[in-house]
Symmetry: D2
Subunit: 154 residues, 4 copies
């Protein structure tokens, strides 16, 4: 299955996200250079993804407990436009989704709450698997519908 | 079972540890105040514990895979004597152990490699459990022997 | 200055905290044994402390930017009573404070939102310093008042 | 300045890295799905980068202390080929570099020590800045030479 990636411009230009998580940059999220450690942005993306699933009746903890599906990352990337510092109030939004039978690419954008300036954009490609055998499987229907609802949002 | 804690003085005064892990304070281990984020010290302790088990034939990954035992934390504490900064070369030592039938208290000391000054001391109390039922069980014999070898080291 | 520690029983028996932060155990907060990695509890404590300061007009990011004060940890400890797992809804409360001229001991309790069962109790001792010289200084008056308001809450 | 990215195939096919860091997947590096949390791979990349600079006389802690240069991330990406689990012995290698006047793209590959199977490939683009003013500056000469030595290694 070929990897689907959004253009960075597409993520920058997308409308306000269909799902937005406000948060604050934590004391321990910065590094020795005084700005957010770049890998934390991927945690912000994933935390928003978990909240999105939870808010829409497809809670990831339930899926893992029932061993019905898992969706490990195949690819992840981020572009850093402006530095974030401890205490910055930000919004992490899911701004786009591209759905394949067993895969989804989700686009993210992190903006400062006050200025609405974009600080980070990124995307994560999840592959759906059967967690018992760790082999690719079709995405559950309710997940497909959920991601498709997001697809038109950007 | 009553909780066993070492005196802080005992940990400070103990001989060089029987098991010592050199490491360097990472870029992302510091916080917005520019010194090591205090919770990272507990990661240093636990990483040294995992290395100690591995080096002595009681690898934790094997125990978890075979579901023979687990040893979650009942208590953890640390005293911070000197700040650590990005790039500091340190040694994390297991300096003491107190063994009960189903519990072990392990004492740790973190020193700067160059000056041998103590930066942090601490201790963690692990309770042995059957991971299937999450109930207390006796410590495996080889674990008891291993921790007892450490007991006299401090 | 001698270290002040609350009795664990005192923290367990304290009234509902004066300041409570709801949160959810994150996907990446658990470890290879499937329960919360113990050091994460200290991050929960500290995140609640940062929120408490922010909510009461003593924002830590401002203090660090102005280099007026810093309050690194002198001591931290936690007792783990029940395991927490990915997706668990919890409340992290500041339940007690003991104030000294240049030091504060803050007591924390983590409960499950649904059952109100206590999962973790702990405490952190912060020493106030002049961040330029890294030497002990008196706590600012507004901080003292703030922590004293918490002292009677437990 | 346009962003330089390596082809994923280029990173997969590159010769053994010029600089290789052995490490073990930590207990707290896995997530609730039992495999390495994807954002940890970026920490592995960055830790190897810090070690590479240190080993070649361009220590990042010194640069930050002297405020001579900083090199925050402009872009980061990773492709996950095989899952990694707690205890897995891996090698994190710098396998390629592309040098621009004020920017460097570094390619990484993570392999299992035993099988030499690739688990993750990725790349990070660093922009050199003057840390006082947070504006782009030319890369120091010794850094250029260092990265060029890596360029031919892949």
């Amino acid at each position: 299955v070929s990897l689907y990636r959004f253009d960075r411009e597409r993520l920058l230009a997308s409308a306000p996200g269909a799902f937005v998580c406000p948060r604050v940059v934590r004391f321990q999220d910065v590094d020795a250079a005084g700005i957010i450690f770049f890998a934390r942005a991927f945690e912000y993306f994933h935390d928003a993804y978990v909240e999105f699933l939870e808010a829409n009746g497809c809670a990831l903890p339930d899926a893992l407990r029932e061993r019905s599906w898992a969706a490990p990352l195949r690819h992840a990337e981020a572009d850093y436009l402006r530095p974030l510092r401890f205490g910055d109030r930000i919004e992490v939004a899911l701004v786009a989704a591209h759905v394949e039978p067993s895969e989804v690419t989700i686009g993210y954008r992190v903006t400062r709450e006050a200025s609405e300036e974009t600080a980070v954009v990124g995307q994560c490609v999840h592959t759906f698997i059967d967690p018992e055998r760790f082999v690719r499987r079709a995405m559950p229907d309710e997940m497909r519908k959920l991601f498709e609802s997001l697809a038109g949002s950007g």
